[in-house]
């Protein structure tokens, strides 16, 4: 990930003589602070959940309610991230390639789910999609209920993940070389063929990165989902809520086990993101 500038003065590791000062100090601060605030607490979590013992660990893991919550959290997060990938690509395309009134305003608004507190999003979405809400009412007439169903969770996760794909795809889209498209057109390709073979492939890594980011965010989302989900075990009970419920039942062991599992899954996703980003950078020619 580093911008590897060739530095003729500095010798290779480990005999490197650093030109710039402050390495020890800043690295020390970084690792110390990170360790204190993030790493040690998370380590404690792992230790506590390990102390639970393998039998309890497995029992918790095979508990149908826990499995259902995993299925719901990961499943709906996946679907929401996928929907965001499709629509995010569309939005990014429209913003970059087309001109229409209010374009800059829309572009600025895309970041709203980042900036808006999750609780606010939660109550706003609930009031919209309830059977008496602005969107919920017409949908109810069609027999579709959104609030308190998995569909409601989907909507909330769609909202929080919205900016990720748009913001990862946008810069890549802007940097696309129009000459490639012109060349393909001159060689006789139809527009659809150009889109599929020339435009989309370079976008794919960024799309994947955005999707993974949205997915990771959606798995752990609490504030915006808790108001619109029905919290019914097996149907609309998300993992973070299950953790809170276990806490309230004094089941610290169960809570730490689920948290540890979520952590492992998130960490693996993170690794995937970073690898993807490295791949993206290489594919774009550094």
């Amino acid at each position: 990930m580093a911008v590897a500038a060739f530095d003729p003065v500095a010798p290779r590791w480990p005999r490197r003589r650093r030109v710039l000062p402050g390495f020890g100090l800043t690295l020390g601060i970084t690792i110390g602070y990170l360790g204190l605030i993030v790493l040690i607490p998370l380590l404690v979590l792992f230790v506590q959940s390990a102390a639970v013992g393998p039998t309890k660990f497995l029992a918790e893991l095979s508990n149908p309610r826990t499995l259902a919550a995993f299925r719901i959290s990961f499943g709906i997060a996946f679907l929401a991230a996928a929907a965001n990938a499709v629509f995010g690509l569309l939005v990014a395309w429209v913003i970059v390639r087309y001109r229409f009134p209010g374009q800059r305003l829309i572009d600025a608004l895309i970041d709203m789910p980042f900036a808006l507190p999750t609780a606010v999003a939660g109550i706003a979405l609930t009031s919209l999609y309830v059977s008496t809400g602005w969107i919920g009412q017409p949908l109810a007439a069609l027999g579709i209920s959104v609030a308190f169903t998995p569909l409601g969770i989907f909507v909330a996760l769609l909202f929080v993940g919205l900016p990720f794909v748009v913001r990862t795809v946008e810069p890549v889209l802007r940097d696309l070389d129009p000459e490639l498209e012109e060349a393909a057109a001159l060689l006789g390709a139809s527009r659809t063929r150009i889109l599929a073979r020339v435009v989309l492939p370079p976008l794919f890594p960024a799309l994947l990165t955005g999707f993974t980011l949205a997915f990771a965010r959606a798995i752990g989302e609490y504030g915006s989902v808790i108001f619109i989900a029905g919290n019914m075990p097996g149907l609309t009970e998300i993992l973070p809520l299950l953790i809170v419920i276990k806490l309230e039942q004094f089941d610290y062991a169960g809570a730490t086990v689920i948290a540890a599992l979520m952590l492992i899954a998130s960490f693996m996703l993170l690794l995937a993101i970073n690898l993807l980003q490295g791949w993206t950078r290489r594919r774009q020619g550094g």
Partner: protein, 298 residues
């Protein structure tokens, strides 16, 4: 009307009086309009409507209820606590972000990739888990519980716990903005300054800081926005003591659960306004910067 940014066609050289050939360098007009319409509809439903709903509900019982909701003592206490939390977390995480970006972007060392991955951890951990770890650490029956009680120090269910949980959740924001930016800028300017005799601090202040100031500001804005709005992590460590350990998002939940819906949305509208202001500043920054600024990877 809808138009395209790229050219709509290159004219093939006219030969023997044949018509100009339009190359398919953009989608047909109907497709452009349809795609734009779909995109705008999607954004209108999923982005704009919730914002409008917040304000509509906030004023649904009149302006007087709104005014009372945001000025009653419990709301003011919540606002104070929210501002205090942000005032603690943002400077600390900014200092950390600067240190981290300096060490990562200007130097090479083994384990840099691991460090980068670890830095991103708070992003992918559920906020509830973030709160849980501090409860496990500092709660009465936690790792340090007995020791803290004996010393009379309250962390969980008090303001330090809220600050810690928020610190955890907002930790990477500034660093993630600065690292790609400083990596892209390279270290040649700093090296020149050092070679010419500047100390580390001078180099940082006079050379690096001016270069990264817009990225830094953007990171600070994001960090601030998240610190103000954090819900899940704070809900676990807060204790919900009305007037003492309720932040604005928690206060919204309490109002909502007490049938005071317009009041809940009134406080929510304050947070929404802050979010809109944040976005406004960020957009203004980007206009100034001309879109060349933070090469952010989120």
């Amino acid at each position: 009307m809808v138009d395209t940014a790229t050219s709509t066609g290159i004219a093939a050289p006219a030969q023997h009086g044949t018509a100009r050939i339009e190359l398919p360098l953009s989608e047909p007009a109907w497709a452009r309009i349809a795609l734009t319409a779909i995109a705008l509809l999607f954004l209108a439903v999923f982005l704009v409507l919730p914002l409008v709903a917040v304000f509509a509900e906030a004023f649904s019982e009149g302006a007087r209820v709104y005014a009372r909701a945001v000025t009653e003592p419990e709301a003011l206490a919540a606002i104070r606590l929210t501002v205090l939390t942000a005032a603690i977390c943002v400077p600390l995480n900014t200092a950390f972000g600067l240190a981290a970006a300096w060490s990562i972007a200007k130097f090479d060392f083994r384990g840099k990739n691991l460090l980068l991955t670890l830095l991103d951890l708070p992003f992918s951990v559920s906020p509830v888990v973030a709160g849980l770890v501090f409860v496990l650490l500092f709660g009465l029956q936690g790792v340090f519980g007995g020791w803290l009680t004996a010393a009379g120090i309250k962390i969980i269910f008090a303001i330090p716990g809220i600050a810690l949980a928020t610190l955890f959740v907002t930790l990477p924001f500034v660093a993630r903005e600065l690292i790609p930016l400083m990596q892209a800028q390279g270290s040649t300017e700093e090296e020149a300054a050092t070679v010419l005799g500047a100390s580390g601090w001078q180099t940082f202040r006079r050379v690096t800081l001016p270069n990264i100031k817009w990225g830094l500001l953007y990171g600070v804005l994001l960090c601030n926005g998240r610190a103000i709005g954090e819900f899940g992590a704070v809900a676990v460590v807060s204790g919900h003591i009305i007037g003492l350990t309720n932040t604005m998002p928690l206060h919204i939940e309490i109002l909502y659960n007490d049938y005071a819906f317009a009041a809940a949305f009134a406080v929510a509208s304050l947070l929404t306004l802050m979010a809109l202001v944040t976005l406004g500043i960020k957009t203004a920054l980007e206009w100034r910067l001309g879109d060349t600024g933070a090469g952010r990877s989120h």
